[in-house]
Symmetry: C2
Subunit: 198 residues, 2 copies
Amino acid sequence: MRPKSLEKEEAIRSVALQIIAAEGLENLSMQKLAKAANISPRTIYLKYENKEDFLVKLFIDEVLGAYEAAVLLNFSEDMEFAEGVKLIWKNTFQYFKNNQHAFSLMQYGKSSPLLNNAYREKNIQEGQYFSPIRLFLKSHVRAGLIPKLPNQALRAMLFAPLFDLVNEYFEHTDRPKQVITAKVLTECCEAVIKGMIK
Amino acid sequence: MRPKSLEKEEAIRSVALQIIAAEGLENLSMQKLAKAANISPRTIYLKYENKEDFLVKLFIDEVLGAYEAAVLLNFSEDMEFAEGVKLIWKNTFQYFKNNQHAFSLMQYGKSSPLLNNAYREKNIQEGQYFSPIRLFLKSHVRAGLIPKLPNQALRAMLFAPLFDLVNEYFEHTDRPKQVITAKVLTECCEAVIKGMIK
DNA sequence: ACAAAGTAAGTAAATGTTCATTTACTTACC
DNA sequence: GGTAAGTAAATGAACATTTACTTACTTTGT
């Protein structure tokens, strides 16, 4: 029996992320993807049911899953508050810096209804998606260190600015001067922490 | 000479925003739009050069422009810091609460290369896009009230969480209980302000 | 009467997806 | 150790449909 080529699977996914980053999700077609990945269109359908199935799996596995793994590196839910937040900032920035294409599709997760639903379903089904962070926040709320707010509100406060900063970082990669420096990131992270602590 | 019908123009734009919000930008086609707006496809092309031209104008006029006008209502660049930030939060939330469809396309502005470029170009060309807010921030940096950070970083810190909260608000409109209440918004806004002030 | 606004029906090209077939590898026998 | 059968992987050409956009005509308001 002829074995499955992992390269092809890999190529499909990475080329798809490239196209999405360069031309947008709305300009990714299955035929264009196949041509760019040097495979037959049919091959994609051996691995995925249809375009929707492909996009959702790409988003969940390659973007959400990989990001979750990266962001939780060395993280523990019983870390000190400032320490934990700083680590998440550091991990997030480092990960996306090295995976710009994943970041592009991540952004689409907030726009596209398809991906948005996929995210919500994963969140509901698995229940424990990003659960270490949720528990981390919960325990610091209980301890009275940070205000009692809905989990999503806490996450918005702590991490939404970071995503905008990463976005801004990428907008400056092809310009003379990078404005999102390590110092800026540190200062921003500290401001966010200061704002949260009661 | 027969005058252009403003209703049709209006219908095209509002129906487009609806489709984008419901099915995503990647699922908006000119034919679908024409059918949904009860006009001939050709009519769209009487008003816009092509699809790209249409999308960019929709984004710039209907989303960015309208949002700018709404957010700057009663705003003045020489407001007190906390007062100014709170007003922007209030205006932003109010506007999007009443214009959910515009919010959807706004989110695409951060993903889609097409819209992203359009935004950047408008920002560069007009130079003074959202300029009252820029001047407002600049003056408070000068006064030493908030740290000297790049404009985009300041904006990320102050407003990125707000957009996530609006998004979260919409995710709860069809659920039993709204978690993003006025109280939550106020608390978040105050935390953001506290974090920024040196 | 005129000229622009608007339309229905069309175009070629591109879309998502499938068919019938070929390729490349494993395995079992001589 | 060579080889041929067996099998899943992979393919290129095709499918019906949809795409962005036009053509040729009708309607409308002055």
